[in-house]
Symmetry: C2
Subunit: 268 residues, 2 copies
């Protein structure tokens, strides 16, 4: 544990936030994968991302198919973490209908709305009843109109035993698999499309090392460099499973790298 880690560790111990970020990851991405590996790697990558971007955070933990990040800061950097299907900034309140009502009202701004309650722990009333109570409160206070389809705002409530979370916005993530869950591949940098090809393999969970044949600017890739370190190599290393090129049908080449060649742009 280096000094920086110790400082972060101490911060964690004393850190409590009124906000959390709720991260969702698509079940569909887990087909044929080991779910636990997926979640562990995703958590590791998220922590790496937050540290690199100097975001103060408390715990990052898995809870009933979500990852909760304790932080009061904006985490735009999550837009560049593969494996996240969406994330939301949520307010943490005590699990109590009145507390939830108050927070929901605060988050309602304008237009038609609906309330969507999910009881992860089966406490309080049944979900439809809580939805009705919270909805009625907003209607009464703001004279707002409920609409179950084509609403302007959806106020989401996720209920856990002690604390509940209220949020009204869902930010779309990149999807895909967490980088590092699949093997390492070697991306050949030879044109602008090379960066795109490498990104596609990262999205499928591959760590990428870069074999620079031409002087291609790969700053774009650095935005996605969480959970691993991007590095350049001067020949195809033995430890990679495959070589990635940017060939398309029109530019197909028959070259040998001594490893299977992946051309992710070919059917894209």
């Amino acid at each position: 544990m280096c000094l920086v880690d110790i400082v972060i560790f101490i911060k964690l111990l004393v850190y409590t936030s009124a906000m959390v970020v709720i991260v969702k990851y698509g079940e569909i991405a887990l087909k044929g994968k080991n779910r636990i590996d997926f979640e562990r790697k995703l958590i590791k990558n998220i922590k790496d991302c937050l540290k690199k971007n100097n975001i103060e955070f408390g715990q990052v933990k898995r809870l009933s198919g979500r990852i909760l990040i304790e932080t009061d800061q904006k985490c735009d950097c999550l837009n560049y973490v593969y494996g996240i299907s969406s994330y939301s900034y949520a307010s943490k309140v005590k699990t109590d209908v009145d507390e939830i009502k108050k927070e929901a009202l605060k988050q309602y701004k304008t237009g038609t709305f609906r309330v969507s309650v999910k009881r992860v722990d089966k406490v309080l009333d049944k979900s439809p009843e809580i939805e009705k109570k919270v909805g009625a409160y907003i209607v009464q206070q703001k004279n707002a109109k409920v609409k179950l389809k084509d609403y302007d705002v959806c106020i989401n409530v996720e209920i856990f035993k002690e604390n509940s979370f209220v949020y009204s916005e869902k930010i779309k993530g990149l999807g895909g698999l967490p980088v590092g869950i699949e093997g390492k591949v070697c991306a050949v940098l030879e044109d602008d499309d090379s960066v795109e090809a490498a990104k596609l393999m990262m999205k499928r969970g591959c760590e990428v090392v870069l074999y620079k044949l031409k002087d291609v600017n790969y700053d774009e890739l650095k935005k996605y460099e969480y959970g691993f370190k991007l590095r350049e190599v001067d020949k195809v290393p033995n430890y990679v499973a495959a070589v990635v090129t940017s060939e398309k049908l029109e530019t197909l080449k028959d070259r040998s790298f001594g490893k299977p060649v992946l051309r992710p742009l070919v059917a894209y």
Copy 2:
């Protein structure tokens, strides 16, 4: 010209339909492609599709970025033609506001609606004025409600010099490129995913020949066999540009076929 072709040719001369199918193809698919090649190949594939499915049709012609098919029959088979982004069954009427009004009224069934007019030839009034007139007529006759967003029905009118077309439904097509616009590839049949891999390459415009390593059922592929003939080969032929396999990252193999290997499922 064989006998069947002569019979079809004679039919074409005498065929006039009250309906047309309007086929749209995404501009986005044309990036870096020769548009004329794309359109010619798509028309050829559409005609092949209609013939194979015993659909009587008159002319199939390109007109201002659309393909118009003269036919009074249902053309569900178009669901399997790559390169089509959407198609609609449209009624053909004389280019005259009253005729358009009548046909639009006939197509309005229930719920909120809007009218969307596109003047391909600049005749009659300006589009917003025709929209207003046609819309007002439906409101008056049916007591229907106009809604510009989140409507139940959109009645589309495409105005050409002599005839105009009215339609209210858009059926989504497969997208992609017309089969045959790119080179030929050889798909290795060795598991169920092989069929999926071959389909992806067809979607990118490749004709596919089949190298059957294992006894895989490829009936699914026959649905998309328009504009070319599917056939089996017993070794990788010289004339193909590449070999297509169904490998994924987890099943990556390092085999040589003497041709570049495409693994379209690897980043899918």
